[in-house]
């Protein structure tokens, strides 16, 4: 252990005195605060926060990834190339200890830097609402001002407080009315960042309708009548037909209704809110606003005429823009005891279009499951797992490649892992014959790599989705315990049998 630790500290020293981390640290220290100011997003406070967290974490993750690759690959290759390793491996240290020491050094360096930068990002994120004065304290101040003004006006008119008198005053007194509007605006802004950003919500999406049978029938029919396009493979045709059929199940004509049923909805707190997040698509391109009515609750109570146990909520007719994600807030007590929840949508006859809910993000039910801080912590852990994997990768490359080549090798792997989703998808669109070749050669190799894009932390933080401990543990197991360890074992194997003094040109 002492020798592992000696090598680790030496690796950190090397990295620090090489000044590469300094360059990255300075860059981040400048960029992060600048981004905190310049990232405006869509102009709202929520947009600003989302943009900052997303850019900040992505930048940190990318720069630290590059740093990890450089430091870990350089650490071993330079020792071999500049031959300091001659004096190290001839000391009482096992080669495995040497590798582990280097790995430990790189990881420790990463942990320190990651803690530093994520603390900065977290600090700026949490401080931003305060900077723009969107806080609970400010809200209560505003409310007090309104209450004070209301009381003054009531005293002037000599009336006592009632909802009616308040409404009357609001109608007659413009100043009071503006104050009231300001209070509700402020409330909305605060609610938006608290409900849609500073939280960690679980998302439940409706189960896709089972359309396999229908698709098969259509396919058979078209095949018999010779209507199949010739330039598409069977799987491509099936995929397209499935898509069309599924969309059909999520479309409502004028005056029609759609109903989604969810099971196992388990809000943490029944007094908290439930959110229905939706996005419209329309068949009539000239339509930009959709009128709708929603209801949410235990729909079975209506169907079977039993005495209602849980509340059923209904919205008034509302108007929402097309192709923009919006959210409806309901009390969480709409969920039945067994976790059942139904969400209904009515395409009111004011519309002149079929309303479609897109497949990917058309509709989901959200509820708070954890705090933003805990979510942020796990998001940072995801980055750490990625860095540990890259450290192993850098070491592996260092055991059999020389410095610049090792870096290039790591970069290729890193980029492939970053875009693995895209790469894998593009294979699917290849012709039938080519797929056979690829699915047995390149595809398994890519699947061996971790899928960085799939577990991108900003994918969870920006829409305030819960990144559960279970998922975090799964990523840890997959990326670190399986794939990272595999690389480490491979590098131990290579390094252990390596002829260190053999000159390779």
């Amino acid at each position: 252990m002492h020798s592992v630790w000696a090598v680790a500290t030496n690796t950190i020293r090397q990295a620090l005195r090489m000044k590469t981390p300094t360059a990255f640290v300075v860059l981040l220290l400048i960029l992060l605060p600048v981004m905190g100011i310049s990232a405006t997003g869509d102009g709202t406070l929520k947009g600003r926060l989302q943009t900052f967290v997303s850019y900040g974490l992505s930048l940190t993750s990318i720069l630290l990834s590059l740093l990890t690759i450089i430091v870990s690959a350089y650490s071993l290759t330079s020792d071999i190339q500049q031959k300091q390793i001659y004096t190290v491996v001839t000391k009482p240290i096992r080669r495995a200890q040497l590798l582990l020491g280097k790995l430990l050094g790189v990881i420790l360096l990463n942990v320190v830097l990651l803690v530093l930068f994520s603390a900065i990002i977290y600090g700026i994120t949490v401080y931003t609402p305060r900077y723009f004065n969107v806080t609970e304290a400010e809200l209560s101040k505003l409310k007090t001002r309104y209450a004070q003004a209301l009381e003054d006006e009531l005293q002037k008119s000599g009336a006592s407080y009632s909802e009616q008198s308040e409404a009357q005053l609001l109608q007659s007194n413009a100043e009071l009315y503006h104050l009231r509007v300001a209070v509700s605006d402020f409330e909305a802004r605060l609610a938006q960042i608290n409900n849609e950003f500073f939280t960690a919500r679980t998302s439940i999406v409706p189960v896709e309708a089972d359309v396999d049978q229908e698709v098969k029938e259509i396919y058979q029919k078209r095949k018999e009548s010779g209507q199949l396009p010739e330039d598409m493979s069977v799987s491509e045709i099936m995929k397209e037909l499935t898509g069309i059929k599924r969309l059909e199940k999520r479309a409502a004509g004028v005056g029609h209704q759609l109903l989604w049923e969810f099971h196992d909805v388990k809000p943490r707190d029944p007094n908290a809110s439930l959110f229905v997040r939706f996005k419209y698509d329309v068949s009539n391109p000239s339509v930009s606003q959709v009128y709708s009515q929603w209801f949410i609750g235990d729909y079975r109570q209506i169907r079977y005429g039993t005495e209602p146990k849980t509340a059923i909520y209904e919205t008034p007719v509302r108007s929402d823009p097309v192709r923009t994600a919006r959210e409806l807030e309901f009390p969480a007590d709409a969920v039945a005891e067994d976790g059942y929840l139904a969400v209904g949508f009515t395409n009111v006859p004011l519309n002149d279009t079929v309303v479609i809910f897109p497949l990917e993000d058309g509709l989901e039910v959200l509820y708070k499951a954890d705090t933003f801080t805990a979510n942020f912590l796990r998001a940072v852990l995801l980055i750490l797992f990625r860095l540990i994997f890259l450290a192993c990768l850098g070491l592996l490359a260092g055991t059999f490649l020389s410095f610049p080549v090792a870096i290039l090798f790591c970069l290729v792997v890193f980029l492939t892992a970053t875009f693995s989703g895209f790469v894998l998808e593009s294979f699917d669109s290849l012709g039938e014959n080519l797929i056979g070749v690829y699915s047995y050669t390149v595809r398994p190799v890519i699947q061996l790599l971790p899928q960085f894009d799939k577990f991108n932390p900003t994918k969870f933080l920006v829409p305030a989705r819960l990144l559960s401990w279970a998922l975090t543990a799964k990523v840890a197991a997959l990326v670190v315990a399986v794939k990272g360890l595999l690389l480490l074992l491979l590098s131990l194997l290579i390094f252990n049998f390596k002829e260190i003094a053999k000159i390779t040109v």
Binding site: Y86, T90, I500
Partner: protein, 416 residues
């Protein structure tokens, strides 16, 4: 008999990219280095010396044959713990300071922090780099890097010291110091395997040598036996008169052989060291301005190093020889250095190498002394001398050590 280093039909073939045999770097080498001897591996460039050392330490895998180092595998950490290795160039971490470098290697040996600290200071003292101990070794000259390289090889107080071209890049004074160090380590019962093509160095320190060429041993044996011209005799006298010379010539002619009478020459090394000492003594008040200051700087700090060396030796050799270097004892009848320990190594060195009046056999003595050296008893060899140094109170001459240490410390601060 257990050899310290042994190779059996050791062969190394470097093959080309296609796996075809290209170069026989080492060819069927059978080498035996006995315990407690200074063994020199000689040969021109590319004769397989370094390759052999690398195979001993597991840095290269033999194509054929095998090696035994201290009775085990040279890449086994347990064996490594008893070896000190100085590669052909001092491959050091450029970003570490001298002290950090030694600390790093010390930690690889799992030396406890206190022992490590004391050893590092002792070694820095010894190699004369105390003043620059906090400078990154990347800024060091080749000679300075070599000194640090040597220090790192000694940090574990090794039983077997493997030195690859130990004196390259060193000035004559540094070379001389390393040679003395090797001899003293050998007196303490260490085994030294060194390879070099600087024949003068090898000749001065080695008990036995092997000459390699083309990866094969061309000649092997004791230095004295290999070099002695048994058909000739040499007589060295004081400055005798011409008549005496004539008489001697007559006696020799009676033996039916020729006789040549000349004045013996100084070795250039001796002359050089003497010159530098003189220059240094004059330049002392204005040190820093003269070009030799660098050397002087090192050597000024060499005094305590010499003291440590003496103690290294003294701890394992008998109590009686403690006060003086045994080497000096043999060759310099005038014990001036002893009475004035502050004068430093240089004067001692000069005296030891300088032929005393009427005694021209000094050189011969230096060369052959180790060959006839008696082996110290094994239990004394085993003593961890550096450790003893760290606890002066438990050594028999503890009080004296303490006093000397204090002295050296004040001397250091004055130098710094």
């Amino acid at each position: 008999m257990q050899y310290a280093v042994e190779t059996f039909s050791l062969t190394k073939i470097f093959s080309d990219w296609w796996g075809r045999d290209k170069i026989y770097a080492v060819d069927d080498l059978n080498l035996q280095v006995r315990g407690n001897e200074v063994f020199g591996l000689l040969g021109p460039n590319g004769s397989g010396k370094t390759t052999t050392l690398k195979m001993l330490l597991g840095l290269l895998h033999p194509t054929k044959g095998r090696t035994l180092v201290l009775g085990g595998d040279g890449s086994d950490p347990k064996i490594n713990a008893r070896i000190g290795f100085l590669p052909e160039e001092s491959y050091l971490y450029r970003y570490l300071t001298a002290r950090e470098t030694l600390d790093f290697y010390g930690r690889l040996f799992a030396l406890p922090a206190e022992v490590r600290k004391l050893r590092i200071e002792a070694l820095l003292d010894m190699v004369g780099l105390k003043a620059v101990a906090n400078r990154p070794v990347g800024t060091f000259s080749k000679g300075m890097a070599r000194r640090i390289g040597l220090a790192q090889a000694l940090i574990n107080d090794p039983e077997l010291l493997i030195l690859d071209e130990p004196t390259t890049g060193l000035d004559p004074i540094g070379t001389r110091q390393i040679k003395d160090l090797i001899l003293k380590l050998a007196q303490r019962g260490k085994t030294v395997l060194l390879c070099s093509h600087l024949l003068a160095d090898v000749e001065d320190v080695c008990d036995r040598i092997s000459i390699l060429y083309g990866g094969k041993i061309q000649a092997e044996g004791k230095v004295r036996e290999l070099l002695q011209q048994t058909g000739k005799r040499q007589i060295t006298t004081g400055a005798i008169s011409d008549t005496a010379v004539e008489k001697i010539k007559q006696i020799v002619q009676q033996e039916d052989t020729d006789c040549e009478v000349t004045s013996p020459m100084d070795k250039l090394e001796t002359f050089f060291i003497r010159t530098i000492t003189a220059a240094q003594e004059q330049a002392q008040p204005i040190s820093g301005a003269v070009s030799t200051t660098r050397i002087g700087d090192f050597l000024a700090r060499e005094m305590p190093a010499e003291r440590i060396l003496d103690k290294l030796v003294a701890a394992s050799v008998s109590r009686e020889t403690t006060p003086e270097s045994p080497l000096t004892d043999q060759v310099a009848p005038v014990q001036e250095a002893e009475s004035k320990p502050d004068e430093g190594l240089l004067s001692q060195l000069t005296q030891s190498a300088e032929p005393a009046p009427g005694e021209t056999g000094a050189r011969e003595d230096i060369k052959t002394e180790p060959v006839e050296r008696a082996e110290p008893p094994p239990e004394q060899i085993k003593k961890r001398i550096l450790d003893e140094l760290t606890h002066p109170s438990i050594t028999p001459d503890g009080a004296q050590d303490q006093a000397e240490q204090d002295k050296s410390q004040t001397g250091d601060s004055a130098n710094a």
